[in-house]
């Protein structure tokens, strides 16, 4: 993040992508470790923790997987829930994809495969500031995040038996704090005259989330509220 602010344009290199991923690593590592611990506690093996982080690669979905597995949910219920939880990636991909149309389909599939809340946040901040995104930079960001996540989850699984409750140390809050920072950075790249419009939308978001939580689980409320409030944003423009 700091690098972007000082330079007019982020160089499109793999190395710069790695550098811009570093500030998010504390978040990845603490949540990954926590996931490993929770996974073992819910009765899945270290190998399964590893497979989930490699193949599913989505923090909230992996936690929900453990919860459902522990509850003995049927296979279809697990898969449908994971699908809904991760449907927000569709919106994120839609937002990021237009920046990469000049790259091959195969590389685009690569960008999409490794998209997460965090890499989305980092790239959307960079895109907001510079109006462009580079493929090599994106790969550096994505691959650093991916390997750190797998390593953190697996290590979390291995040491899980001895690690005291990670919540006690506030580490679970790393994820929320990261979203707060990404939100502030995104807002910082918005033109001043539009800022009030966005603040209004965030206020509407609070009401929307509160109301929707009466009727649905959190992940569904995030998805629906985002779609509803973005629509309100378009309607109330100007």
């Amino acid at each position: 993040m700091e690098q972007i602010e000082q330079k007019p344009l982020t160089p499109d290199t793999f190395m710069q992508g790695i550098k811009d991923c570093v500030p998010t690593l504390l978040g990845y590592i603490s949540i990954g470790l926590a996931f490993g611990v929770v996974g073992i506690a819910s009765g899945i093996s270290v190998l399964e923790v590893f497979l989930l982080s490699v193949l599913v690669y989505a923090g909230s979905a992996q936690f929900i997987f453990c919860g459902l597995y522990l509850a003995g949910a049927p296979v279809t219920a697990v898969i449908v829930t994971i699908f809904i939880v991760n449907l927000r990636h569709l919106l994120m991909s839609l937002t990021i994809a237009p920046y990469f149309t000049k790259y091959s389909t195969l590389r685009n599939i690569g960008f999409g495969t490794l998209l997460t809340d965090e890499t989305f946040g980092v790239s959307v901040v960079a895109a907001g500031k510079e109006g462009r995104l580079g493929g090599r930079w994106m790969d550096g960001l994505n691959i650093t995040a991916y390997t750190s996540w797998i390593a953190a989850c697996t290590v979390g699984g291995i040491i899980g038996q001895w690690l005291p409750d990670p919540e006690k140390w506030g580490l679970d809050y790393a994820l929320v704090a990261m979203f707060v920072a990404l939100l502030v950075l995104t807002l910082a790249s918005i033109p001043k005259e539009k800022l009030m419009h966005y603040i209004k939308l965030i206020a509407i978001m609070v009401i929307s989330m509160y109301g929707m939580l009466y009727f649905m689980p959190g992940h569904l409320a995030v998805l629906l509220s985002t779609m509803v409030v973005a629509t309100i944003g378009v309607v109330l423009e100007k």
Binding site: V22, I44, Y173, L185, S225
Partner: protein
């Protein structure tokens, strides 16, 4: 370090339904032009989704009512302050974690 065929298949199923929404837009957007109204709508997605993810932690459904999670709301204030002041991801994360650890020590 063990697993079963059923478990591997379940994980693969979850991987597939996670992968498709991730890659579909990248394939579609490359091959078609999106209407202006959709692009305007998409411009709001980052702020909406990030604020929704933050706000999700403010509330919890407890039996009949959705209640405010005061600890999370209180921790949010210094976290937001540090984010506004430093505009730094790493400093905000550290501030958030330290605040939450402190609050849990006091009130947890």
């Amino acid at each position: 370090m063990t697993t079963s065929l059923a478990m591997v298949l379940l994980i693969l199923g979850c991987a597939l339904v996670t992968w498709i929404p991730r890659i579909m837009p990248f394939i579609l957007v490359k091959n078609m032009k999106m209407p202006k109204i959709v692009l305007r709508w998409l411009a709001y997605i980052p702020v909406c989704i990030l604020s929704a993810l933050v706000i999700e932690g403010f509330f919890e459904k407890e039996e009949a009512f959705v209640t405010v999670q005061w600890l999370n709301v209180i921790a949010f204030i210094p976290t937001l302050f540090i984010a506004l002041l430093t505009k730094s991801l790493s400093k905000t994360v550290i501030a958030g974690v330290v605040t939450m650890a402190g609050l849990r020590l006091l009130f947890g």
